[in-house]
Amino acid sequence: MIKVGFSVNGKRVSVETSPTTTLLDILREGMGLTGTKEGCGKGECGACTVLMDGAPVVSCLVLASQIEGRKIMTVEGLAADKIGKALQEAFVEAGAVQCGYCIPGFLMSARALIEENPDPTLDQIKEGLSGNICRCTGYVKIFDAVALAARRLRG
C-alpha cells in the first residue's frame, strides 16, 4: 500500500491505496464521488474525464502512484466554479442531456476548453469535446450548450 496526497475540488486529501488503483476507483469507491462515470474502462469513451492540474484526462488510466501533489477537479466541483456553474445551467437550458451517463465527462472537457478559450468557434468546441462519446447521439445540443455557456460568461 502507498499513501498519496493530492487535492480534490480544492480540498487536500490523503489516501492509502494500492499503487495501481486507478484514479477513477479512488474517486468512486474510495471517496464516494460517484459523479465521475466508468464507460469503456480503457481510455476511449471519455465518461471518466476529470481535470488534473486543469487539463482533462481519462481517470480510468491514471494510477494512484501518478497523482501525488496533483490538483484533481471532478464534476462535483463544478457547482462552486464560475465556468462549471454556467455550463450546468446551459446544459439544462439547451436540453443537452439525454440518458446523462456521458455528461459529467462532457462537462469536464467543456470546463477545460472554456477556461483556455473563452470564445470558441464551433470547430474548436468539436475539437475540445472530441474525446467524449455520447451514445444517445446528442452532440448538436451539447455543442449548443457549450457555446451558450461561453457566450454568457463573456457577458
Binding site: E44, V58, V62, Q66, N132
Partner: protein, 284 residues
C-alpha cells in the same frame, strides 16, 4: 486494476539505478495510456512498475541552433501546441493532433509512443522522416541511436533492459521546408492508423530536395520509402509526378492483412495518401 508494486523515483539518476538493480519483469510507466490498457487486458504482467511521473526533467522541448530536442516525458498535447515544433517540425504537430483524444494526449508521452514500438504509432513516421536520434541512458552512460535503426519489430527495439529513452532530437526544418503527415483511420480521432505517410524535404523552386519519406502501419515497423523519395527528388511537383510517386510508394509499402485493414487496401492507400500530401504541397 490488480496490485503491482511500484517504485516512483524523483530523479532520472535514481530511475536508472533502479533499472540497473532490478532485472527481469520491470515495466516503465510514463503516461500509462498504453501500459495500463495492456495490463488490464492481461497482455502484459509486470512484476514491478517504474513510475516516471515524479521526475521533474525530460519534460521540455528545446532548440539549440539547428537541433531540436524533445524530452521523453513531453506529452502529445505539449507537442501539438509547441511554437518551436510548429516552426521546426510541423508534420510532428500534425501527427500529435491525430493521436487518441485530448484526454489521452494530456497523458501520453512521446517517449512512451516511441518505446512502445507499435508499427502504427503516429509520432514515429514524422520523427523517422526527420531522421531523429534517440538518446538512451543507463547507469553506465548514454547511447545515441538513429530512430531508423531503433525498431526491430512490433514491440521490439534495441533498447536494453537497463536503459531509458531520455530524449529524441533532430535537425529542425528550415523556413524553406515542405513537409506533411497524412493518415488514414476508421475516423479522425480515437482510431488506430491503417496507413500513415510522412514526408520532409526542402523546396527548391517548384521541386523538392533532400526528400525523405516514411510509411507507418504497412510493415512490422515504420519503414522508409527510399525509392519513392529518390523519384520525387528534384522533379517539379505536379499531378504526373505525384501519380507516379504514388505507384512507387504502393510497391514499397509491405502491408499485411489484419483486423483493421487488408494488404492491398493499405498498399494502395499508402500511395493515395502520398499523392494527397504532395497535392497539398503543390497547392499555391
Amino acid at each position: 486494476m490488480r496490485r503491482i508494486d511500484t517504485l516512483s523515483p524523483g530523479t532520472l539518476q535514481e530511475a536508472l539505478e533502479i533499472l540497473a538493480r532490478e532485472g527481469e519483469g520491470v515495466k516503465v510507466i510514463a503516461g500509462g495510456t498504453d501500459l495500463v490498457v495492456q495490463v488490464l487486458e492481461r497482455r502484459k504482467s509486470p512484476r514491478l512498475l517504474l513510475n516516471l511521473s515524479r521526475i521533474g526533467d525530460l519534460r521540455e522541448i528545446g532548440e539549440d541552433g539547428e537541433t531540436v530536442r524533445i524530452g521523453a516525458l513531453v506529452t502529445h498535447r505539449q507537442i501539438e501546441r509547441s511554437p518551436i515544433l510548429k516552426r521546426r517540425a510541423p508534420l510532428l504537430c500534425e501527427a500529435a493532433l491525430l493521436i487518441g483524444s485530448p484526454q489521452l494526449r494530456n497523458l501520453a508521452t512521446i517517449g512512451g509512443n516511441i518505446v512502445n514500438a507499435s508499427p502504427v504509432a503516429d509520432s514515429t513516421p514524422p520523427l523517422m522522416a526527420l531522421d531523429a536520434t534517440v538518446s538512451l541512458r543507463s547507469a553506465r552512460g548514454e547511447r545515441k541511436i538513429p530512430l531508423r535503426a531503433f525498431f526491430l519489430g512490433p514491440g521490439k527495439t534495441v533498447i536494453r533492459r537497463d536503459e531509458l529513452l531520455a530524449e529524441v532530437s533532430f535537425a529542425g526544418l528550415g523556413p524553406d521546408a515542405a513537409s506533411f503527415y497524412e493518415r488514414l483511420g476508421q475516423r479522425r480521432l480515437l482510431s488506430i492508423s491503417k496507413v500513415g505517410v510522412a514526408l520532409a524535404a526542402r523546396r527548391d523552386g517548384a521541386a523538392l530536395r533532400g526528400v525523405s519519406i516514411s510509411l507507418g502501419a504497412v510493415a512490422s515497423t515504420v519503414i522508409m520509402a527510399p525509392r519513392t523519395a529518390a523519384f520525387i527528388e528534384g522533379k517539379p511537383l505536379g499531378d504526373e509526378v505525384a501519380r507516379e510517386a504514388a505507384r512507387i510508394a504502393e510497391k514499397e509499402s509491405r502491408a499485411i492483412t489484419d483486423l483493421r485493414s487488408t494488404e492491398s487496401y493499405r498498399n494502395r492507400m499508402a500511395g493515395a495518401l502520398l499523392q494527397k500530401g504532395l497535392a497539398r504541397l503543390a497547392a499555391p
